[in-house]
């Protein structure tokens, strides 16, 4: 069975462009959450907050390529470009059929659909429809645009599992390399903010609104005073590569993806299941061939919802006890939905490389129901050999990755 190296990482996050920007924002403990004034115009929702990507308009992408891209495709392409530049693979191999793409998103571009239908419903005419509409809204738009922009001609997959999308994308890409059907995968998740996402969480009483006047305090994973998710956007894309090939070409290996699991819990399409989360983590550890006690750090999904954080904390305590450090990055970044798996995996790898762990922002008073696992609140210096990355999603989807450091 082949091993899988991470040789490139690219980020477009609510902190801005690039992995360095993402990492510095997290290490400095900043919040990327802001008041989004336009949300006041919408009825039926209480939250006024979002974590948007600043300063990206995509104009650096030539029009002929950009015409098929919505915002989420632009984010994915820019993140993939950074990741591929770092990986420094031979571009002559991009079209070999051995280099594939797995990039997913929660839902196809709502901004594009809204714009089209707002005009279309005036007279129900399709005469003003442009060809780009389909290419921007097809469910595999981001993956296809990444493949076409770079000429990556291997497998193409566009998983969609809401908040677990990015984590699944990495996992499925990992499995394609392990199995030998692909050698290199450009993989991750991407998300563009739309008020519908925030309204959906709000409808289910799972979006933060009590901190509308204090946005930097709004996302509070595991905290007693948390009141829900703050939706965000961005893209996190990694280059995964057959370990042996990476070694032979002298590539810098940033980390190893050594285990993956995903499973579906069918008791409820919306309620989190602590037992299912734990089963998923157990399967990921088994895939990596490691014991729970070998894990040195856990990057939790923990979105700051009432139920989700409790379910994950209980699952973590049951499996790992009270010694392994745990943190969530949603306090800094909000919940970037499909992008969070990629962005948080990148951040986890950066933590391992830097030898310091980033705590949960806004965790001042831990919810007693989240107590058990060691959820730390200040930066910790630590050599981390093995990390676990969780993401869980509406739809009953659970997803875990095991990441091994390369020291």
């Amino acid at each position: 069975m082949r091993r899988v190296a991470v040789t490139g990482m690219g980020a477009v996050s609510p902190f801005g462009r690039g992995v360095t920007t993402l990492t510095s924002g997290l290490v400095e403990g900043r919040s990327a959450i802001k008041v989004l004034a336009e949300l006041k115009e919408y009825g039926g929702m209480r939250t006024r907050l979002a974590a948007l990507v600043p300063g990206v308009d995509g104009k650096e992408i030539p029009r002929g390529k950009r015409r098929s891209m919505s915002k989420q495709s632009i984010f994915a392409v820019l993140a993939a470009r950074e990741a591929l530049a770092q990986a420094a693979l031979s571009e002559t191999e991009y079209g070999s059929g051995r280099y594939g793409v797995v990039v997913g998103t929660t839902i196809s571009s709502l901004e594009t659909s809204e714009s089209f239908f707002a005009d279309h419903f005036r007279d129900k005419s399709f005469s003003r429809m442009k060809t780009s509409l389909f290419f921007k809204t097809m469910n595999h738009s981001a993956a296809a645009n990444v493949a076409h922009f770079f000429g990556l001609e291997g497998r193409l997959l566009a998983p969609a599992a809401a908040c677990a999308t990015g984590c699944q994308a990495l996992g499925y890409a990992y499995e394609m390399i392990v199995s030998g059907v692909q050698d290199v995968m450009v993989c991750g998740g991407t998300e563009e903010f739309h008020p519908l996402s925030a309204a959906t969480f709000d409808l289910m009483n799972a979006a933060s609104f009590r901190y509308n006047d204090r946005p930097e305090l709004a996302s509070r994973p595991f905290d007693r005073e948390r009141d829900g998710v703050v939706c965000g956007e961005g893209a996190g894309v990694l280059v995964l590569e057959d370990w042996q090939s990476a070694k032979e070409r002298g590539a810098e290996i940033l980390a190893e993806i050594s285990g993956f699991a995903t499973l579906t819990e069918t008791g409820s399409i919306a309620e989190p299941s602590s037992a299912a989360m734990q089963r998923c983590m157990v399967l990921a550890l088994a895939d990596a061939g490691v014991e729970a006690r070998s894990i040195n750090y856990i990057n939790a999904h923990a979105t700051a919802t009432k139920k989700g954080d409790i379910a994950e904390a209980q699952a973590l305590f049951g499996l790992f006890g009270d010694q392994i450090p745990v943190s969530s990055l949603k306090g800094h970044l909000g919940h970037t939905l499909a992008a969070c798996g990629g962005l948080e995996t990148i951040a986890t790898i950066e933590m391992m490389r830097r030898g310091e762990l980033i705590p949960t922002r806004n965790l001042n008073d831990i919810d007693p129901r989240c107590q058990g696992p060691r959820i730390f609140t200040a930066i910790e210096k630590q050599t981390t050999s093995l990390a676990l990355k969780n993401n869980f999603a509406l739809g009953g989807v659970n997803c875990s990755l095991v990441i091994r450091a390369v020291h």
């Binding site: 029009r63 002929g64 015409r67 005469s127 003003r128 429809m129 442009k130 060809t131 780009s132």
Partner: protein, 87 residues
Amino acid sequence: MTDAEIISLVNDSLIEEFELESSVMVLEAEIFADLGLDSLDIVDMVVVLEGALGIKIRDDAGLREIRTLGDIHQFILQKKRETEAAS
């Protein structure tokens, strides 16, 4: 609208839609080689020009003869005259 105004409107519409530089908007500019458009763009060009000028050209066989920007101008001017004559 005068012919000059129509040509100006056509050029402005194409510049905006396809992010073209004004300097490439010369009569002999070939729409594929010089303006960098492709078959999908041509479909969108029709939509844009129909919207800008309030005419219907999608099913006009003359579209297939267009090679240059000058051809577009002549095609549109001819179409406009036909439309005005019919009304």
